[in-house]
Structures are given as structure tokens and as C-alpha cells.
Amino acid sequence: MAFGVKKSFFGRLQEKIEDVIFMRPEIDEEMLDELEEVLITSDIGMDTTMKITQKLREDIKKLNIRDPEGVKTRIKTIVKELIDKGEAHQLSEKTPLIILMIGVNGGGKTTSIAKIAKRCKDQGKTVLLAAADTFRAAASEQLEVWGNRIGVNVIRHKEGADPSAVIFDAIQSAKAKQVDVLICDTAGRLQTKKNLMTELEKMNKVIEREYPEADRETLLVLDAATGKNAISQAREFGEIADITGIVLTKLDGTAKGGIVITISDEFKMPVKFIGVGEGMDDLKEFDPAEFAEGIFE
């Protein structure tokens, strides 16, 4: 669903920033304050916001920037530098590959799995899905519907089964059938729930033990509407798993997704994909240059 609502969030942020810059005749502290506001209202954390505006202040002096246009170019560069993690934004092309999707409840893990599976399949790879969310009502059924739509198999157990056992079975099946990409769905869990985080650790160990030859991706799914809690999510999930990337979902909404900038600033995690709708094709690769350009152009 959700067709026809794709006005880019970058576009909206850009409008706001332009308002601030061009409505002011000169570069002064007040302008910088207002700029700070724009960043804060985009969910960019306070520390990162301060860092950006502080750097901007220094650059304005150092580079003798006098016009609003110059300020614009400068912020763009600062933001791009903050979020750019180079090569790391790409999903591994090695096979066999096992992808573990993790994150809090309702962020968009299962849907993003469908999108990534579709993408891999379109690239000519063979894909298998593991329904290791055995907790939430009809979670396996949901993944199965996606599997049918895309034309990939889903390994599932009964509701309430051990998620690690599902992953174990899926790995054996992936090996036997020489599947290129195995993607494992997991139940949503809040990062503060100790027992659920331990369960995740166990799944991780099973993958390490059973599939050492596979390349690994662990993707943290973040809802673009998330506020400061995203920082705690990145930190706590990062403690349990070696997160190789972030999928930032629901960017087709009005949320600014400024958390990307904060997370990129405070952690090593690169954003790999953005979700821009509920359909299986609504996934885009994250491009930091485009992101930074898009904010200001």
C-alpha cells in the first residue's frame, strides 16, 4: 500500500534548512542557532548537532565564508563526512552469505528481509529465509507470505519453538542446497530485555559454529521515526552482535531520520539500505553523498 506518498524526506529537510539560511541577510549567531533548531527537530542528537554547528562556526571563520550559499555547501560537506563510511555501505557480495536481521519490535525487520531477498534474487542469487521469530503471533506466516510472493523458500518451525533450532535447520538446508544467501528473521526485542538479548547471542553462536564458511552480515533495523532511543538500540545491540550495517525503514513517512547522522557519528555502523514503502521493491541502497546532497539541494 502507501503508494503515491514518496515525497522525499531529504527534500523536506532541505526546504527547512533553506528557509533558515535564505531568510537571513547575514551569517550571525542567530542564524546558527536557528540552524541548530533544524537539526534538532530532525532527531539529530544534541551532541551531534552541537558538533555540526561548532564545526560550521570554525569553518566559517577559517575559510572566511561570507554568504549563505557558502554556508550551505559547508554544512553539506560536514554532514557527508559524518555519515560516509566508504565501502562499508555496500552489502557483501560474497557467497555463501548469511544475514541476521535484528532490532526492536515493529521496526520493519520482516518486511526488509522480503525486500533484500527480492533484491538478491533479482541479482540472480539463490535465497533461503529462516523464520526464527517463533514468538510473535503469525510471524512465520507473515514471512511465508513474502517467501511465496518472491519465490523463495522459508524454513519454519512451530510457534514457540527455539529460534536457534530454526537457524540451525536453515543452515543445514542452505548448505545442502548450496544457497547463496540465507536471511534469518528474528523476533523484535527491546534492547533492555536481558533474556531476549541472550537468546540473540545464542543464535549468533549457532551461526558461528555451524556456518563458519559463510560470510556474515548482521543488520540492525531502525525505524526512521525513532528518537533518542535509537542510540541505546545501536549501543546495546552492538554489544551482543557485530553489527555490519543499518537498515533505516519508513523513510517514506514524515520522519526525518536524523538518527542516521547521530548513529553514524557515534558508532562505526554504516547505513546499508533505506526502506521507502511497504512493497518488496521499496528498498534503496544508502548513498551518503546523495543523502548529504539531498539535504541541501
Partner: protein, 307 residues
Amino acid sequence: MAFEGLSEKLQGVFKKLKGKGILTEADINDAMREVKLALLEADVNFKVVKQFVDSVKEKALGQDVLASLTPAQQVVKIVNDELVSLMGGTNSKLTYSPRGFTVILMAGLQGTGKTTTCGKLANYLKKNGKKPMLAACDIYRPAAIDQLEIVGKNVDVPVFTMRDCKEPELIAEKAMKEAELKGYDVLILDTAGRLQIDEDLMNELVRIKQRTKPHEILLVVDAMTGQDAVNAATGFNEKLGIDGIIMTKLDGDTRGGAALSAKSVTGKPIKFIGVGEKFDALEPFHPERMASRILGMGDMMTLIEKA
């Protein structure tokens, strides 16, 4: 742990000025900066924060705060009281139809917790002597109907479904007739998640509303939401008209500033909070507890009650 966070910072602000004798308006401004930061860090919307800080400042200057022996505590108290009253003061209850048959419509963005909360609410109603029924009006999300059916089974409440129907408003209408006919007294409608800027889907909700005339339209909001909470809440309230809010996922470590933001821009009360994935993890909302949480003072009321 009580009064950690904001209060400590305010102590710091005022400490610097000790010895100077009385405090000035500038000191209050400094303090308000700390309040502002605390609220922003708790995800309260920027505009809401600004308004709030202005009104608190007025109150703080108008009272004997500056001359008091414990100005930091006084300010915290004013901030806290103001937050509590902004969030409705006391707990708001569900309204039931005087006619004896109540329809509750659940709406919200994708993945906020609508379907799960339908189960929790049905469970809550049952415990309160009601006879609820659920209706599956999400025709889009893969396995949404299966999900609600399992939810219904878990709380032992019947679920009305029409698997081949592509008109959610028709499903809702039929569910209503069936529920009344079979003697149920509350019907809870589960709907698909949608963006408030998605016109087609918002119109679909309006059609469901027109056909079923719900007594309660509840907006389900994820407590981890940041600055965007106001956009969603305003959008749903303007297009659909909501009667209350349910804030979910408060069992984590979010400060939940979205609660204040959503309440503040819609004026509609938060009626329940979700504190877990299980079906008994639904609690009536208490403004004073939420205020403490947003301010980082620990959930004192809950602690006191549990002690």
C-alpha cells in the same frame, strides 16, 4: 535514583550562584536551558518544549521560587506539576456507549502495536466484565488476519474475519452486526498501519468511521518515536478525529517524550500504556508517572506503589 538527571543539573546551575544571595531572572533562564535540554533529550517535540519552557518560566518568576531555600527543587516541582497537568492531570477512562454496544477503532502508523494492543484491550475489557469481540480490518499486511486470530485465541476472544473481502469498511460493518446479534458489548476494530500523509488509506479509515460510528478512536503511538510524533498525531487527529492515545513499548528505556508531544498537539488524553508483548501488559496511563519518566526522576509513583 530519584531526582537524578534534571534536578541534579538544576542544582548545578543554582550552586554556581550560591553566596550571591538571591537569584535573578538570568539564573532562571539558565535553569530553563537545562529544562529545555532535558526535555529534548527525552524526545519531547521542539515546539512543544519551547511553549512549555515559556509557560514554566512565567510561573517560576511569579512565585517565591527565587527567594526560597531550595530553588532547584521548587523549579523541578513547577516543571513536574506543569507536565502532569499538560498530560491530563489524572487518568482518563474509556467511554462506553450508553446504548450498551461500544465500538473501538484502533489506528496508527505501521508497526506501532495496534494488533497486539487489540488483544491486550480485549483482555482488559474481559477482566472488567465486558464481552468483547475483535474484527480483522487489515487487508494489506501479510498474515495480518492470522495474527489477529492467534491474538484472539490467546485471550479467548472471538475474531470476526472476512478473508476475501477487500473493503475494510464492509468488514467493520458486518462485524458490528454480528457482534450485536451475538450479544457482545464491545467491538474492537484492528486496522492496517498507515502513514498520515497517505490520503487513500486515511480516507479508508474515515469510511470505517462513518459506517461504524466508533465511541472511541484510539491512536496507537510507539513511545520510542522522536520529533515526528507530533506529525503523526496531528495528521490522524485532523483527518480522522481521535478520542485518545495508547502509548506502546514503554517497557524499554525510552524516556517517552512522544507522549507529551502527542497529547499536547492533539489535546486528546493518553488512556493506556503498553509495557510488554504479553496480553496483560497494558496499564491505565498515569500522568504523574510519565512526567517523572520524561524528566528522568525515576518512576517514583510506581516504585512507591510497588513497595
